[in-house]
């Protein structure tokens, strides 16, 4: 696999959406090719950052209670 092909699968690889065979080819390429390795590391960091920043927020504490009350009236 060359760099271009590898980068075409960048997000699919990080999202674990590839078949094990293709995933293995990419793992091999980024281990052998430092520029691709760095780019994949950067994108992985970015996705981890996004997730961490956005998951802190949850539903307001009383929303579940209000929904349960509503279901009781059904």
């Amino acid at each position: 696999m060359n760099c271009r092909e590898c980068k075409e699968h960048l997000y699919e690889y990080l999202d674990r959406e590839l078949t094990p065979a293709v995933e293995q080819e990419i793992r091999q390429h980024i281990a052998d090719c430092p520029p691709c390795g760095e780019e994949f590391d950067f994108e992985k960091l970015f996705l981890g950052f996004l997730r961490a920043r956005c998951r802190a927020q949850g539903a307001p504490p009383d929303l579940k209670r209000r929904i349960l009350d509503e279901l009781l009236d059904e």
């Binding site: 997000y11 999202d15 780019e39 950067f42 996004l50 956005c54 927020q57 929303l63 509503e70």
Partner: protein, 202 residues
């Protein structure tokens, strides 16, 4: 003389025990996804009060249709589909305007390449706070915003996202690619503006 016809019996009301069972299974399998529904609702409506209403309405609709939910399948996907339909039908017109995006007009920008001389490890991300990231997501076109939220915030697979958004998996992939690059660009511009990184003269 004809005998009087017997009165038709009223339809049987569900027994209190059956109702209690239904509520218990709904609480166990559906209400556990409340935080996810709320986060998605908030990003779709852009407003906590509307998100609250949208989630309540979604849960009520889901409860009424609970007998149609196929046990053992993905309840989160099912609930998010109901939520999205409710949003499109009742909220979108009131809150934000649906945008149609010319996807090809968006030039994917590689922040990684921009950062080569300055911060190749992307340490500037550490200095960007939650609110700034959420604001950047809220500025994305709706099609991108919902795809990114389902993937990067809720961790759903391409296939689950495709089912919820009713688009092909290939569309999910291309939206995700462009949405993430757009987000990177917004956050990069923000970081340059704040002086976290130098930035190049583009």
């Amino acid at each position: 003389m004809t005998p009087p016809t017997p009165p038709t019996p009223p339809p049987p009301a569900p027994s209190p025990a059956a109702e209690a069972d239904k509520r218990a299974s709904f609480e166990r399998e559906a209400l556990v996804h409340l935080d996810s529904l709320y986060r998605v609702a908030l990003r779709l409506t852009g407003n906590p009060a509307e998100a609250d209403d949208l989630v309540q309405e979604t849960m009520l609709k889901a409860y009424r249709a609970w007998h149609q939910f196929e046990r053992g399948t993905n309840a989160k996907g099912w609930l998010l589909t109901i939520l999205r339909h409710a949003f499109i039908n009742e909220y979108r017109r009131r809150t934000r305007h649906p945008e149609t995006v010319d996807i090809d007009a968006i030039e994917p920008f590689s922040v990684f390449e921009e950062l080569q001389d300055d911060d190749p490890q992307g340490t500037f991300f550490d200095r960007i706070v939650d609110d700034e990231v959420l604001r950047a997501i809220d500025l994305l076109p709706e099609q991108f915003r919902e795809t990114v939220v389902l993937s990067d915030v809720e961790g759903m697979s391409y296939e689950e996202i495709a089912r919820i958004l009713e688009v092909p998996v290939g569309t999910v992939k291309s939206r995700l690619f462009r949405a993430r690059r757009l987000l990177q660009q917004k956050l990069y511009d923000y970081a340059v503006g704040m002086g976290y990184i130098k930035g190049s003269a583009k």
